[in-house]
């Protein structure tokens, strides 16, 4: 089921949560809506589900305009952030809920429901848990039951709100892999919301980076990380340090030193360079390298990291360097920026 989101805007009183968002989600795709809190990602997910109605714009399920359909009519599987399992029902009854509330004409018999629930319990690898109550399950188990309950209604799309937000790191990693496998097996068009970039990058086919009610960038995890489209994405995904530069006749200048970087269509004038630590090389001072001084050295896991002050010393960036490079505290060093994003200064 392909989803088309056309010019969706949502106001909550005077504050706008979304300003005209357009997005096409392909059939069978696993998509992450990634952004900080307040970016509108959860609002967008709830609008797709029909739990919230937009101030403007349309949502298409395949060729059909679903904008005016109620949440019941949309037939979406929604997994809530805190699971929202019915605490007075057993796991079995929770999963069977969506089938039992159907009108009698389409309601399956109890035998058929039993078969379905058992299949789903197997699918989420909790076959022995039907008789338990939600309070007797761990967080990760509740998450999987919530997913089984959502899948029971054979939804056209699966929507997950911060699916791993309330779990500890270890369970989160396992469940992430498990969800990806489940998606590949069942082939549901799946949209999930997260504020965790690692989760989005690892799990999703494509990532939608959102900020302040707008889509900043839509692309594969590689696109997002290697070719951030906006300063926001540079800051939000991975690490980047800002260097103020001057663009003049296609050349990029830092304090009068020409950098070996293309201006990428940025007009002459002041601009900002976004530099990732892994794209910076350190070497003994030499012509053609930016003069700098080593200020701090530290070790972070497998990486060696140096914080260097560029040129006159007001601007500091960080650089990863290999074992063969000689650097010493408070000593001059040559810096080469191999790759960087450049945007006109705001």
């Amino acid at each position: 089921m392909q989803l088309d989101i056309r010019d969706i805007a949502k106001d909550f009183g005077a504050t706008a949560a979304l300003h005209g968002v357009d997005l096409t989600i392909r059939s069978g795709e696993l998509i992450a809506l990634l952004g900080p809190s307040g970016s509108g990602k959860t609002t967008l997910l709830r609008i797709i589900a029909g739990l919230e109605f937009p101030t403007r714009g349309q949502v298409f399920f395949g060729p059909d305009d679903a904008s005016h359909r109620s949440v019941q009519e949309r037939n979406v599987g929604f997994v809530f952030q805190h699971y929202a399992l019915f605490r007075h029902m057993t796991v079995y009854d929770n999963i069977a809920f969506g089938l039992r509330v159907r009108p009698s004409a389409t309601r399956p018999g109890e035998a058929e429901i039993r078969k379905k629930v058992e299949t789903l319990l197997d699918l989420v690898q909790l076959p022995e848990y039907g008789k338990r109550f939600p309070a007797q399950l761990s967080g990760g188990q509740r998450q999987r039951i919530a997913l089984a309950r959502a899948l029971a209604i054979e939804p056209k799309v699966l929507l997950l709100d911060e699916p791993f937000g309330a779990l500890d790191a270890r369970v989160r990693k396992d469940l992430r892999r498990w969800l990806r496998e489940l998606h590949d097996r069942t082939g549901h068009t799946t949209v999930f919301v997260t504020h965790d970039q690692d989760e989005a990058m690892e799990l999703a086919d494509r990532v939608v980076v959102m900020s302040q009610g707008r889509i900043e960038q839509l692309g594969t995890p590689d696109d997002i990380y290697d070719r951030p489209a906006t300063p926001f994405v540079y800051d939000f995904i991975g690490e980047a340090f800002r260097v103020p530069v001057e663009v003049s006749g296609g050349a990029v200048l830092f304090e009068g030193n020409r950098l070996d970087l293309p201006a990428q269509g940025v007009r002459d004038g002041r601009a900002t360079l976004f530099v990732r630590p892994e794209n910076v090389s350190l070497a003994p001072p030499a012509d053609g390298l930016l003069p700098a001084q080593v200020e701090i050295l530290r070790r972070a896991g497998a990486r060696r990291r140096a914080e260097v002050a560029l040129g006159a010393g007001a601007i500091r960036i960080e650089a990863d360097y290999g074992a063969g490079v000689e650097v010493a505290l408070k000593q001059p060093v040559g810096v080469a920026i191999r790759e960087a994003g450049i945007f006109p200064a705001a």
Binding site: L51, Q72, V76, F80, A84, F97, P134
Partner: protein
Amino acid sequence: MVDTAPAVAPSLAAVPPSRRVAPTTEPRLVRGVLIAITATFLSVFLLFPLGVVFVEAFRNGTAGFLSALADPQAQSAIRLTLLVAAIAVPCNIVFGVAAAWAVAKFEFRGKTLLVSLIDLPFSVSPVVAGLVYVLLLGSNTLIGGWLQESFGLRVIFAVPGIVLATIFVTFPFVARELIPLMEQQGNGDEEAALSLGASGLQTFWRTTLPNVKWALLYGVLLCNARAMGEFGAVAVLSGKLRGQTVTMPLHIELAYNEYASVSAFSVAALLAGLALVTLVVKTFLEWKYADHIAGTGRH
């Protein structure tokens, strides 16, 4: 003995015993005084009078007690009280659930005002409430006259008036129990049910109601106890026609004023007994379903 005590664990011995208790725990003397004050007040103002009620009721033995209750007027009072409670309590369940639902699940203008209004019967004297109904619905008023002429329905000094007064007084009980719980639970379960295809009504019966059933039951018990015991507002509206508009509390007062103390205290003992049963049922439910009740708060 002190001198020969082994010198082990000097660090423990260095701490005076009085310091080993939790910092929030008061010294033994303070605790004792607080407990004594509480126990004294409970005994003097609650247990002792309650005991007197039962002692007086059984002054002429069990036979006297039973014959007082078998009296036609007492029988009529008991029946009327049960009837009034049977009408007022369901009305307040409907109102309480509707009000709690509206307050907890929607945002609307004037919500704070509505919540304060629900509490009004707690702050208004029941006698004042009774008088207001007399002024509004008495047979020589516009509405009251119209009701009597068109439908032959007498409200004041009749059973409908007593029911009205009881509903007014017991208004807040169910709503007050449900509102905080429903506000705390939020809309999550309802949204989940709707997303799974349930209709609004199915959502209410299968998720909303089960989530608040213990609070609802508790509210109903309190509401019922108050409905049976209400005196002030009912006294104004009843007219005290014996055998017709006299409820149990009114019967007790009438009998007592006529020095029929066994009769008065017998019915009083029955009323107090109902209250005690309510209390026991409530405590039993809280004990038996403690996990469940705690679990309905969050999970």
